[in-house]
């Protein structure tokens, strides 16, 4: 195995009864880079993170973190990693400050250092006002921040964040992205899981897409998109009744059949070169007097990538409202 990978999983299996949570997954995160683990509900993301952070034993497979064998050198692995799991791991009864001090002490920092570190983190994560309130009074966003703060108490060189922004409002999510970017800016390795395509796109240097316990694609966001080898033109016709007519007209421009949503008058067209085709679209529709309400050219999103691989649309929540409710698209 190459030495410049901080996180390595090779052919990892974990079955829960009949459920194949992980069915032969291999991933590798380059030291100092952000690896995004992208997948829908139940894909096996959390299971993999729990295995890599010593919380769960795999049925089979090799796992290395920071050059250490995760199964055989648990305790040493725990000294170099930080984990913010999917469910926040904070003590409800303790205050935010006490939580951070306790974690610092359990990393065996002397008491004054623990106090200082807690104060630092409270400031860094904008929790000073609530520092001395029991954590059970915290909002969802504050809990996430406290949990994230707890995970970096010992300035880990390898960080695992399992869906760090799930359940946060869009503004808080973007603030969280900045925080995460700053955490890895000084060279830490990050494994980040997410259901949000936009999030993987924003934060990850490399993306691994998993589904049903298997890796189904990997590469940089651009590489994944490049495999689609196409641009998309999204058209909204002014009169939804004309959707069918428009589809007929536009058909010759694309190798794939256009995706249409007649209720809304949306058509999505995969084309070889967007810049050329867009003029064609306008000409064709104009010639038959089909009025266009909206016209957009876009590079394929990760959702298109996911769709083309699995034939299923990723469940998207508030991350990408602009394409909500869009019709299904299947590539042949």
């Amino acid at each position: 195995m190459p030495a410049n990978y901080a996180i390595i999983a090779e052919d990892v299996y974990k079955h829960f009864g009949d459920v194949k949570a992980l069915d032969g997954v291999s991933i590798a995160a380059e030291t100092g880079k952000v690896l995004g683990l992208l997948g829908p509900n139940g894909a096996g993301k959390t299971t993999l993170v729990r295995i890599l952070t010593t919380l769960l034993k795999p049925d089979r497979g090799q796992t290395q973190v920071g050059g250490l064998d995760v199964l055989r050198q648990k305790q040493q692995v725990r000294e170099i990693i930080g984990l913010a799991g999917q469910n926040t791991a904070i003590d409800e009864i303790l205050t935010g400050r006490e939580n951070l001090e306790m974690v610092s002490r359990l990393y065996h920092m002397p008491r004054p250092a623990a106090k200082r570190r807690a104060q630092e983190l409270l400031e860094q994560f904008a929790l000073t006002d609530a520092a001395d309130r029991p954590a059970k009074t915290y909002s969802g966003g504050m809990r996430r921040r406290l949990d994230l703060a707890a995970s970096i108490v010992a300035r880990p060189s390898i960080l695992f964040l399992d869906e760090p922004t799930t359940g946060l409002d869009p503004r808080t999510r973007i603030a969280m992205w900045d925080t995460i970017r700053s955490l890895v800016s000084d060279g830490a390795t990050l494994l980040l899981t997410t259901q949000y395509l936009e999030e993987a796109d924003e934060l990850a240097d490399k993306i691994v897409v998993i589904d049903h316990g298997k890796v189904i694609a990997e590469g940089t966001a651009d590489e994944l998109k490049a495999n689609m080898a196409a641009d998309f033109i999204d058209i909204t016709v002014a009169n939804p009744h004309e959707t069918d007519k428009a589809v007929q007209l536009l058909q010759p421009l694309s190798d794939e059949s256009p995706q249409a949503d007649e209720g809304r008058g949306h058509i999505s067209l995969a084309v070889g070169s967007g810049a050329q085709s867009i003029a064609e679209v306008v000409r064709l529709l104009d010639a038959e007097a089909v009025a266009i309400a909206e016209l957009n050219l876009r590079r394929p999103s990760l959702n298109d990538v996911f769709l083309s691989i699995t034939g299923e649309e990723i469940v998207e929540e508030e991350a990408k409202p602009k394409r909500r409710g869009f019709g299904r698209r299947r590539s042949a």
Binding site: N4, T54, Q76, E79, N87, A89, L106, H108, R155
Partner: protein, 277 residues
């Protein structure tokens, strides 16, 4: 660039630990977790109040309701017979908190935090058992005060205090049984029942409330005379009423050591398994 140099560049606060350090951490980590559990008790004062009132009510009920009837069979002041017994009973029942507390901890996210830290594996459990032991000791103090108000007297303070310490030590041993149970019964609701149920036969089929000689069923009497709760209760009672019997003390200490020797490793083993489903 190798991994080592890459990690070093980020200057981690911690470095890889030695065996001696890890041994010391068993104790320091336990202390940190114990403090966290004591905070929890301190922040739920209702819990502490009721945990204190309940044994005092027992004490008053038994003294005044049964006292008259039982006096004849104990051949002396019933309060002197009863208080040491009630203290053991209180300590036994307090240990049920360990079962509940642990199963609650296991159902919460914080346990994942503990398990992903380079802390001592036993500390989560030992921090729980020691906090519950301290809480039990606090209740014992209240009982002594209540006992003094209704007429209990130490024959000798020195042996009396030895008796109390022995009772607390027994309580500590029993919390490890409770911890083991808590780790087998993960559901907090079920733990509520499981934590208590095994304590009833041990408490009542013992010399805590009545002398075992009054039990008419032969098998019951033999069990009641020899089970650890009676052995320890008798020793504590003797010490609190001024009798120092080295053999009896040795047997009690043996039971205490034996219980810890069996259940501490069992709990730690179980914790590792439960925690990594």
């Amino acid at each position: 660039m190798t991994q080592q140099t890459a990690s070093a560049a980020i200057s981690p606060v911690i470095s890889q630990s030695s065996a001696l350090q890890r041994f010391v951490w068993n104790f320091t980590d336990t202390f940190v977790v114990m403090r966290r559990n004591l905070y929890a008790y301190q922040r739920q004062p209702e819990l502490l109040v009721f945990a204190t009132i309940q044994p005092v009510i027992f004490l008053l009920l038994f003294t005044y309701v049964f006292g008259g009837a039982i006096r004849f069979s104990t051949g002396g002041d019933y309060i002197n017979f009863l208080l040491p017994g009630i203290i053991i009973q209180t300590i036994l029942f307090a240990s049920a908190n360990t079962t509940v507390g642990l199963s609650v901890d296991l159902s919460k996210g914080i346990i994942d935090r503990f398990r992903s830290l380079p802390m001592s594996r036993a500390a989560v459990l030992a921090g729980r058992t020691s906090a519950d032991t301290l809480r039990g000791a606090f209740t014992v103090l209240i009982m002594i005060v209540a006992g003094y108000i209704i007429g209990f007297r130490f024959e000798d303070w020195g042996s009396g205090i030895m008796g109390l310490l022995l009772a607390v030590a027994f309580g500590y041993a029993v919390t490890w049984i409770s911890a083991t149970i808590g780790l087998f019964v993960k559901d907090p609701e079920a733990a509520q029942v499981a934590g208590f149920i095994w304590l009833f036969p041990l408490t009542f089929a013992s010399s805590i409330f009545v002398p075992t000689a009054t039990m008419t069923e032969e098998w019951l009497r033999i069990f009641a005379e020899n089970q650890p709760v009676s052995v320890v209760a008798n020793t504590v009672r003797d010490l609190m009423t001024g009798t120092v019997n080295p053999d009896e003390i040795a047997l009690s200490l043996l039971w205490i050591a034996g219980i810890v020797a069996v259940f501490l490793p069992m709990a730690v083993w179980r914790y590792a398994r439960v925690a990594s489903r």
